[in-house]
Amino acid sequence: MLQYPINIKNTNPRLAKAIISQYGGPDGELGASLRYLSQRFTMPNDIARATLNDIGSEASK
């Protein structure tokens, strides 16, 4: 329930779907970012560890 009511004059379900899919969902970047940041701790080599760290850090920004 919203704290402040909003009245949407022109709904755009296609746009809403696109925005929501970016925030969450299996291909969302925030989810990917958390997976990368979790998995960097067990990487077997320097390059993999650094790449997951750096790309994971960027996705959340």
Partner: protein, 89 residues
Amino acid sequence: MTEREKRLKEIQELDFRMLDLQLFLDTHPFETKAVEEFNSASKKLGAMKTHYERLYGPLMLTGDNYTTPWQWIEGPWPWQSYRLGKEEA
């Protein structure tokens, strides 16, 4: 675009260039030219940020010269227009 916005855009562009180099170097650790370019971009970015902060206040809280009142809270923040006066922001 105001002078402030122009300077900020230059900082953003150089910061992005450095990110690009960083990611490239993560998978190509022996590219000396890229390392050198990273270093010189970093130096230039540091100077640009210091100059910007002196004119417009903190960008990130990494300085050690802050004064009272605490300027970090002062508007406008990035999503607000730089053409607004500080009190409106």
